[in-house]
């Protein structure tokens, strides 16, 4: 294991976030607080409880997931895309470092940043709504798995994208709709029957459901199904990255 290489990549990526503190940490927290104010306090006060949970508290897990997914992808995709764009990737490719070590450095840093954002948002939510976490271990497990798997997904996008437009394409056109339609603000049974079936094809539903269960023991699908879907997604991302490095896809033309 080239531990020095992992250390410098991880440190470099974390420093990048530190240099842009407002953009990296303050901005997602402020956006999520606005969701709490609008949906939790203003509109939420007029909505009945959902499965015995106040609406303001009900949306907390979904909002955390929304921030985690968005920022995991953004951090990891930009982290690897920018060296490709500027040409400095030559140094990574010519160094005695395996793809696993590259992943630990880049994806580890992106996942760490997302994890910090998740914890800050969770703490901030406590100021707006009364929160209890029924299963802290499961909550942390879902949090960490989501940070890692979506940072991996972002890393794949960063390797695939050829320009800044493509870099934004997947997060804007795929991820944001999936999260909004993934039960962040409602339970599946609030939807018409046909849409309930359609929404089961959305992997984000399983993420939010499992994460919400860890807070309130309320879920759309079994927590084990949620865990399997997240783990499966993580596995697919790992295999994809492995293939990209093995073939040199978009890296070693």
């Amino acid at each position: 294991m080239n531990i020095h290489a992992v250390r410098v990549i991880y440190k470099y990526e974390m420093l990048r976030a530190w240099h842009t503190l407002l953009q990296s940490f303050a901005s997602p927290v402020i956006s999520t607080v606005l969701y709490f104010v609008v949906f939790g306090a203003a509109i939420g006060s007029r909505i009945e409880q959902v499965d015995g949970v106040s609406y303001g508290a009900f949306i907390v897990p979904g909002l955390i997931m929304l921030a985690l997914l968005t920022h995991s992808i953004a951090n990891a995709s930009f982290g690897i895309f920018f060296p490709r764009f500027t040409g400095t990737i030559y140094e990574i490719l010519s160094a005695p470092i395996s793809f696993v070590e590259i992943l630990i450095g880049y994806v580890g840093a992106a996942a760490t940043k997302s994890f910090i954002i998740g914890i800050i948002i969770l703490a901030t939510a406590g100021f707006f709504v009364p929160l209890e976490i029924a299963h802290p271990f499961w909550m942390l497990l879902f949090l960490i798995l989501t940070c890692i798997s979506f940072s991996l997904f972002g890393f794949i996008i960063g390797l695939w994208a050829e320009d800044f437009e493509k870099l934004q394409l997947v997060p804007l056109l795929v991820i944001t709709p999936l999260v909004f339609l993934g039960g962040s603000f409602y339970t599946i049974d609030m939807l018409p029957p046909a849409w309930q079936t359609v929404t089961l094809f959305n992997p984000v539903v399983y993420l939010i459901s499992g994460f919400r269960w860890s807070f309130f023991e309320v879920s759309d699908v079994s927590v084990w199904v949620s865990l399997s879907v997240v783990s499966g997604f993580l596995f697919i991302c790992l295999v994809t990255v492995w293939w990209m490095f093995k073939t040199g896809y978009r890296l070693k033309h």
């Binding site: 020095h4 290489a5 250390r7 410098v8 500027t86 040409g87 490719l93 010519s94 470092i97 070693k252």
Partner: protein, 317 residues
Amino acid sequence: MGIFSVSFVFMKKPIVSISNLSKTYASGFVALKGVNLDIAEGEILALLGPNGAGKTTLISIICGIVNASSGQVLVNGQDNVKNFRSARALIGLVPQELTLGAFDTVWNTLNFSRGLFGKKPDPAYLEQLLKDLSLWDKKDSLLLTLSGGMKRRVLIAKALSHEPTILFLDEPTAGVDVELRKEMWALINRLRKSGVTIILTTHYIEEAEGIADRVGIINNGELLVVEDKLALMHKLGKRQLKIDIEKTISKIPESLSAWELTLFEDGQSLLYTYDPNRQQTGVAKLLRTIDSEGLLIKDVNTSQSSLEDIFIDMVNK
């Protein structure tokens, strides 16, 4: 160097050994066609070739940046794909483009490079390196604030930050001023003295002529020749004899036709091109014949064709 350099190169074991290396890009462009090359430990090898000849592709494959289509590269006996860790750890690369991050400091980017190659931090070594490259006073400067010449030196410092034994310089003096170019040449000589093997690509023939031990000429993905620089010039170089005469003539006399002379526009100089390695160069007889024609020789001077002439000859064949 001369003959000494030939024996020096052959005595040393190859530190890089390339066999049947080929590369065809996805577009169908064939960049390398079965290149074979051994690079001796401690030598300076200059790779010459026009744009698109395959120089950068060759370097990129050795360094692990580009996958080869076929063939093998051994670095100090280690396959650069199967044993990439031990192979790449020995190599430093200075790319052709000024590819540097914008918002890092010189000091941070050097530490980053050193760490990437698995070396633990060594501030004393990096300090000396920056001092050697006249960059010490810029160690806290952001990379985007540096001039082109300084960025080039930072790239060299990054390549040397992990103390490599093989250094690839891809057009190191492209676009740099004369003073910096001379500094680079001096640096390359210092590195060679410290035992570093240096492979450089260049467009500047005088660069190869000035600092290389051996010269390789690449064109259309093929390595046309790799030879000791002086031996190459000796083998392929032509010698020219310019004879200035007192009389002005409009036509070369019939008696001199055997030498295939060229008459200068002013009608007062003749040029004879010959192979200096031939036993009978014909120079003495030529001079006697000119004299007997009564053209009155005023001056003679000879010149050896340069690497540039050899290079142009070879790529145009």
